[in-house]
Point group: C2
Chain length 205, copies 2
């Protein structure tokens, strides 16, 4: 039991540090200190810096699963579920209690020129996320809520751009209109995909 608690504390402290400072801001010493462990105590839980990074990225993905994916899965299948996922995704890290931004979004820029197992792991996480989005969009197509000839991969590609623009506008530029801008961009993308025009949506949706 004590081991499990220590491990949870380690992952929580490390994930917050990752969220705030990125992978290059992580050091074994600082994560150990934040978790109230000695360095050797930390090495009882992870074998290497790389393993620590990978486990923290997984902890971030698990948090997103709980806070973003699970609530969306409770919405009706199809477009409603897709919209719920998008709404929960934009700005999710702050609502999930992280002190910084989305660890995977930052890693997409931080690791682009750094080959290795951590980069490979982020590729896997990012592809898994995009596959989830594609699957939900394809479900909306199959239900006739988006047009039959929609290029689902193009749709997801553009959606990821809206997410990244939201991330920079909110977290970096502190743009006060960010939520409105993102909502309009998502509405326009869905309308182009054959979904209902924004005007026909109820204000609460």
């Amino acid at each position: 039991m004590k081991g499990e608690n220590t491990r949870t504390r380690l992952l929580e402290a490390g994930l917050n540090m990752l969220s705030q400072n990125g992978l290059s801001g992580l050091t074994i010493g600082r994560v150990a200190e934040a978790a109230g462990l000695s360095k050797s105590g930390l090495f009882a839980h992870v074998r290497s810096k790389e393993q620590l990074e990978t486990e923290l990225l997984d902890a971030g993905a698990e948090l997103a699963r709980q806070r973003v994916i699970a609530p969306a899965m409770r919405a009706a299948p199809g477009l409603a579920r897709l919209r719920k996922l998008i709404d929960g995704w934009l700005g999710w890290s702050a609502r999930a209690g992280l002190s910084g931004g989305c660890p995977v979004a930052a890693a997409l820029f931080e690791l682009d020129d750094r080959p290795g197992p951590v980069r490979d792991h982020v590729v896997t996480l990012e592809r898994r996320w995009r596959d989830l989005l594609s699957g939900l969009a394809a479900e909306a197509v199959a239900r006739g809520e988006l047009r039959r000839d929609l290029d689902v991969e193009q749709f997801v590609w553009e959606l990821c751009g809206i997410y990244l623009s939201h991330h920079t506008a909110s977290r970096f530029l502190h743009d006060p209109l960010v939520e409105e801008r993102a909502r309009r961009a998502v509405d326009a993308l869905i309308e182009r995909a054959g979904g209902p025009a924004a005007e026909t949506r109820s204000p609460s949706s």
Copy 2:
């Protein structure tokens, strides 16, 4: 003369390192080594790590001015110039000879939670870039090439998302369709803004 050459070498080596490893991957020692200088030789040119970072970001902005903005300014004013700027901007860092990605795009994610003069400087560079985009879009509106009621800031906000999605798709995911995806996203954005539909563009444009 010798001082100028050394300074140029220093900025070139540092900018490449910044482009590849991000701000946190820069160290005075590594930049000095790459430029063939001693640490004290480097400090003859910059007073501090912060000044080095700021000057390297400026060197990146100057490179973008030469390689992206200047060619666009030679195009006809209005929508043609805006399109030329967008085409030159997407993937510009590789074409400009940098060994990594766009230093400012990476900094938007790296510095979001790190207040200080370097972050403030990146905010200034990013706002200046967005103002340039807004100005060109507004010119296209004034010339009747984009619709009169276009929300230019929203247009630029979405355009920045396409840029970031292109950056991650090309540099991180190595997506073979990235140029086609970005072109389609830009065409759709311009069409929504009242510009010509993609079908009416000549294949060479």
